[in-house]
Symmetry: C2
Subunit: 535 residues, 2 copies
């Protein structure tokens, strides 16, 4: 774990100032019980050079992703490098989701990266949706430039049919399922794959919208429509449960309007989260594909009565975009705030010492703490590296969102105490080492609950009901979810989007079905829908 | 877990014959204590239509990969679909290796799929090695064919610089490391990534050589040559330990000759395994890259004395090729033989019943067995599906290499017994259910040891010392490893390869250093090296 430090790229010149003095250490030792949050925040901010959210939210996000060593832009336009600390969070997300997929009966498989161009064309809506953002492989060999300038594409190695780097895998998978399915006995097929996909985005942002991204895509095949719809809804529930329980991120569960549907789907279910700047973020989608892909690839089966029919399909996915959602849901001007359930380490321990004898004593004490915490299933990092001062470490782990920071010095050894700082509230308390493990386990649960509650309170405060278009145009500037009546037409939806940049995020599942009048057209509305500006 | 069945694509017409009679069930019930291995083997063979190894080894391999539902060819030339059962084994491999990488201080990260063409050219040997097998992305958009024939590549969306789908990631990673490394304090960097790579192979074989494959690639950066060499050797040890302990596959550890080195490496270490047809298979490589990539991408650092120097590099990888090695190391004419440590499920339980009352009784008994096995950490599948007969299930799980099969019928319930069949030896015994869990745990360990020993005995029997080229040419036809003297020149190596198709697999690390006379040229030889024909 100590490697995370080493892999840091943030080389902060200003931090040297603080490192070269013992100011911070003394300050910490002598003012343990005082609140020095303001000074420290100021100092940490300088150390980290993080733009504040109020100053420029978008810049804050970008700064944070870079400074917390989550990801960075690569030499390839629109493609990112996911750095070790960012990837460690993604691994936690993967592991948890994978367990949940398996608990619900799914298995993993792997399908090719490349899709023959002709496959994409087989489902009309699908190709319309993806053709404009495809990376296309046309050749399979390079050769030395006869003019001696490195290598060039070998014109003799042109592919007969171009290959598309998968933007999503429905087509290649359904062409495969065709050989797997003959009778109802072969159904359902419940496959998932963890993979990279490429969509040639013109404007990219780390994690939120990148040309290449990592994701999982589930692709299931069923004998009946009812079973496929049930699967679509089940996976939406899995996503919602994951978002709320593990990411501590409240989500609305709903269905998309026709405009916002996945290209090739009959119905797209989604979870929508609200970011701290009042913009919505689609965090996961689950599609009921009907028989569209089965028809496109002629996948039929014999049912129990011996009748032939097309197979029913679903697909569902979440991506590294969740990292962006996670960052923007909880983090603050001091850096990342991670929910304990997804933190690469939940507790970091920093020794405060002047001499190597002191360090040695602290090491021994910490060893017993660490082993007690591990027994409780708590992941812990002890950072006793000597090349960084405690002040730097404090700022660093705050920036990286470690839920709990323990500091322990010589006086603590005498008193059998430790200082415990919470990342979410930035509060500190001095605690006895007795039963510390049990206390911290509970504290981590409290933090998980607290940041969920905070996000939920925020969403509640930013969710309004609006009945007139005038009010809508006013409120949309403030951000948040707006529940308003809509006449159900794409035309109205398009005009509202054009005039306000707001889209219908979803029609909430099981939401209030009271009819009303469309705020825009004055026509009848079946129910309120959720509007917002979005990522 | 029952899903594996559902995702099977093997639809064997002949099996219907057996399913429609109770022959097999009765046979099993009445002849429990007799050996009916021969009949059963014959029957299973028909069921599975598996070519025997002696008949056609290559066909046997291909049949097995398909029939055991491990993988299949996709619609994209040279790219495979890894099916759920095959992928479950790969996941076991991944998880174990990943744990071992982390225990040795490595972290995961993710780098872009695409490599700008100019990057490949920066390291001369590297580009020579990979240019001829590169998938090249030249465009980023499709558009509707004006002639109405689906979609075509949009000529207006041509990339200024072509992108290569990574065949390996040294270049993109070292261009990134340049920004991560300034001083010795930033070193070492110990990153690994799990990724897909593409090498445009002309002749492909499932798992062994495919255009796209999955792998991990470690890329480390060090301040000193000694440290980089130590890392290279450490990772070779990790691979060897994994191969022997988990795959039950004995390997030779050695270094490659200059001819066989990775393109861009100063030294390539490898593990070499011997397959059942006497051909060698390179199962993993670990490269000492010297300062080649640091120089190509100008990655320098300030050492402790304030002197600038280029960074030292290693890279190391294993791929889905390990699946091929695993299959060919242990499997037999009845199907796959999996080492318990990598089997998706270690035990399968098949109930033998005629009435649903019998099944209900067996279900209850099995529930207690399953929970006892799970407490022992044994993964178990209970297949009480009613749409397949026991005979079909027996053949199926034998084909899929499940290490232990338990059969339980009504008489077993009366006697508190169960029939236990070992996949590796095809032997059966009837055992008391008392302490079954402890016994089976030990038995799984025994199987793991036994298949390793069997593979090792085979390798020993196929490893010979040869002193003359005449004898060499004779022995090479028999397959196996040949230890012979070689004069150390690429010229001799090339000629031997040309004449016999044998290559030098490796120079064994810590091997016998007794000098001798080259069998081919008669010139002095520093030591014997290992020759073989290979995959």
């Amino acid at each position: 774990m100590t490697y995370y430090n080493k892999c840091n790229s943030s080389k902060n010149e200003k931090s040297e100032l603080y490192e070269s003095s013992d100011f911070f250490v003394n300050f910490v030792l002598q003012n343990r019980t005082l609140s020095f949050k303001n000074d420290k925040t100021k100092m940490a901010k300088e150390l980290k050079e993080l733009t504040s959210r109020s100053e420029n939210y978008s810049q804050w996000y970008n700064d944070l992703v870079l400074k917390a060593d989550l990801a960075e832009n690569s030499a390839v336009r629109g493609c990112m490098v996911i750095k070790p600390y960012g990837y460690a969070i993604w691994e936690k997300i993967q592991r948890q989701l994978d367990d949940m997929f398996k608990e619900t009966g799914h298995v993993n498989a792997y399908f090719p990266l490349f899709i023959p161009k002709s496959f994409l064309s087989k489902e009309a809506a699908h190709v319309d949706g993806f053709a404009k953002e495809c990376a296309v492989v046309t050749h399979y060999r390079l050769k030395n430039d006869p003019n001696g300038k490195g290598v060039i594409v070998d014109p003799d190695a042109k592919l007969e049919e171009e290959l598309i780097v998968r933007p999503t895998s429905e087509t290649i998978i359904w062409s495969t399922y065709r050989n797997w399915i003959q009778s109802y006995r072969d159904l359902p097929i419940l496959c998932n794959q963890w993979a990279n996909v490429v969509r040639w985005e013109m404007r990219t942002r780390l994690f939120l919208r990148t040309t290449e991204f990592l994701w999982q895509e589930g692709h299931t095949a069923h004998a009946t429509k009812a079973e496929a719809v049930e699967e679509t809804e089940k996976m939406l529930e899995v996503y919602a449960e994951f978002a709320e329980t593990f990411m501590a991120m409240p989500v609305l569960k709903g269905v998309k309007t026709a405009n916002e549907r996945f290209a090739g789907a009959l119905e797209t279910y989604c979870i929508e989260a609200l970011m701290q700047d009042g913009k919505a973020l689609q965090a996961g989608t689950s599609h009921f594909l009907g028989q569209n892909f089965a028809k496109a690839f002629d996948v039929q089966f014999l049912d129990k009565e011996g009748k032939r029919d097309y197979v029913w399909a679903t697909s569902w996915g979440v991506s590294t975009r969740l990292m962006g959602a996670l960052i923007m849901s909880h983090s603050d001007d001091n850096g990342l705030v991670l929910p304990p359930k997804l933190a690469p380490y939940q507790v970091v321990i920093v020794p405060i010492f002047k001499t190597s004898e002191q360090l040695e004593e602290i090491n021994q004490k910490v060893a017993t703490i660490v082993s007690a915490l591990k027994i409780q299933g708590i992941s812990v990092k002890y950072d006793n590296s000597e090349n960084r001062k405690p002040g730097w470490k404090f700022a660093q782990y705050e920036l990286k969102g470690v839920p709990l920071r323990l500091a322990i010095g010589s006086r603590d050894l005498e008193n059998n105490t430790v200082e415990v700082a919470r990342r979410d509230t930035l509060t500190k308390e001095t605690l006895s080492c007795d039963n510390l493990d049990v206390y911290l386990k509970q504290l981590l649960d409290d933090i998980q609950d607290n940041i969920y509650k905070k996000a939920l309170d925020y969403r509640t405060s930013k969710t309004v009901y609006v009945d007139t278009y005038e009010e809508f145009k006013e409120k949309i500037e403030e951000g948040g979810f707006i529940l308003a009546h809509w006449d159900g037409t794409s035309e109205t939806e398009d005009k509202i989007k054009e005039e306000t940049k707001a889209t219908i995020r979803c029609i909430i599942l099981g939401g209030d079905k009271t009819p009303g009048i469309c705020m825009f057209s004055g026509k009848p509305s079946a129910q309120r829908v959720v509007f917002a500006r979005s990522y």
